[in-house]
Amino acid sequence: MQAMLQPVADLFGPSWPAVWTLIKIVAIVAPLMGAVAYLTLAERKVIGYMQVRIGPNRVGPMGLLQPIADGVKLLLKEIIVPSGSNKGLFILGPILAIAPALAAWSVVPFSEGLVLANVNAGLLLLLAITSMEVYGVIIAGWASNSKYPFLGSMRAAAQMVSYEVSMGFALICVLLISASLNLTDIVHSQGQGRFHEMGLSFLSWNWLPLLPMFVVYLISGIAETNRAPFDVVEGEAEVVAGHMVEYSGMTFALFFLAEYANMILVSILTSVLFLGGWLSPFGFLPDGFHWLALKTALILFVFLWARATFPRFRYDQIMRLGWKVFIPVTLIWVFVVAVWMMSPLSIWK
């Protein structure tokens, strides 16, 4: 590979590292955008079948071109900036929503050595970047200078900060037992232990010893991405569409892209942190990216399933769940894991 690229590298000279990184970024973002587009179709189809409907089936064979039609429609629509809004921040809102959603992908490992930036503090970086996602929503809601968007952004601020805490504690458990902040190392640490030697690798992944954390992380992930049943930020029955009320065309599409990119991010992170990343579930099957894709798709299906199944939480119930249930549970479990690791019963020696 390196030898093959050498002539091209010579062509660019000293700027080659930057160009090569750009190529890698495109190689990650382009499939991601494709995945986002088809996730919207999958969502409509899955929910359609769950509600005994057919879902979109008009554009292209079996409705497969529907996301492209949607994209073209959104691209061609006019962007309306309300006259009473704060124009600069109004445009900045959607940009700040999508930027962290894409930046977070820089440290996600897709397979052995297949990662854009293999940083030591990868997990921490992810936490920091995802904690900035809320700004897009808050700024959009405030800059719109309208009641419903403002209410939506207030809800977003409170909700996302609350669930970040429990998410952080869940991640502390993971890094306690893998003794590393590097995502690749975290995956490696799951590929060992008694069950792994027996060929039942899927039992040695983090989800089993950290089952409560796995559940908390998954639910917090749904809340963090503002997906149903935690979508009070959008809450079309209460605040119409929250921060997105005043947005149209591509500015609206950016929020949409960010939401779905975040969904995929949370799913892939859950797979990496709790479900062994690219490791195969059985000893006799080879590891590879396809396992990560499969696990991510499974978790994404859970996201859609939850949306089709549960009614929306009321706002105070969301806050109760975050502060009075998840945070105590995670705090206690951090303690339990720490004691477990130091006890003779530790399975992570």
């Binding site: 921490l124 936490l127 920091a128 900035m132």
Partner: protein, 200 residues
Amino acid sequence: MEFKTFVFYFLAVIMVVAALRVITVRNPVHAALFLVLTFFNAGGIWLLLQAEFLAITLVMVYVGAVMVLFLFVVMMLDINLDRIREGFWSYLPVGALVGVLMLIEMVMVLGGRYFGLDAMPAPPAAQAGFSNTRELGRVLYTDYVYPFELASLVLLVAMVAAVALTLRKRRGVKYIDPAEQVAVRREGRVELVKMAAEKE
């Protein structure tokens, strides 16, 4: 110019300009957002100093949590700028005095005598596999464990005090308790009665 130097000046210029805008901009929400930008660039400069743990924590804590709540409050407040600016000229001498004093102190402490390259040469480059996080953790939890725990205790007390000060239990109000609502079971609300079918 080395690339790193360029990055440093790039971040530093944005940071200084943003910090100035925090205190000069008229709109408090804009000021808060400029403060976010300042924190972010400070994090970038710390990254250049190879303090990745501190840099990321700065972004995570201040940008991701503190400033979000700050914005939350600032957006809800109805701030009358003219009222705030009323006493500007009368407060200016006192403020300027405090500012100048702080500047002198900072120049004395942070000047070249203590922080110049002669007094404090650049630390040796970290070898491969050096983990900033691990090193910080080791120092915090072994050499400085008592001061660290003491600091956390002080923070805990402050937190409990803040909650205790604002906690107010009013009696006799129709207040919803979500915990009670969530705990509702069918048995508590519905009673199935078995009765014979009524026949004419």
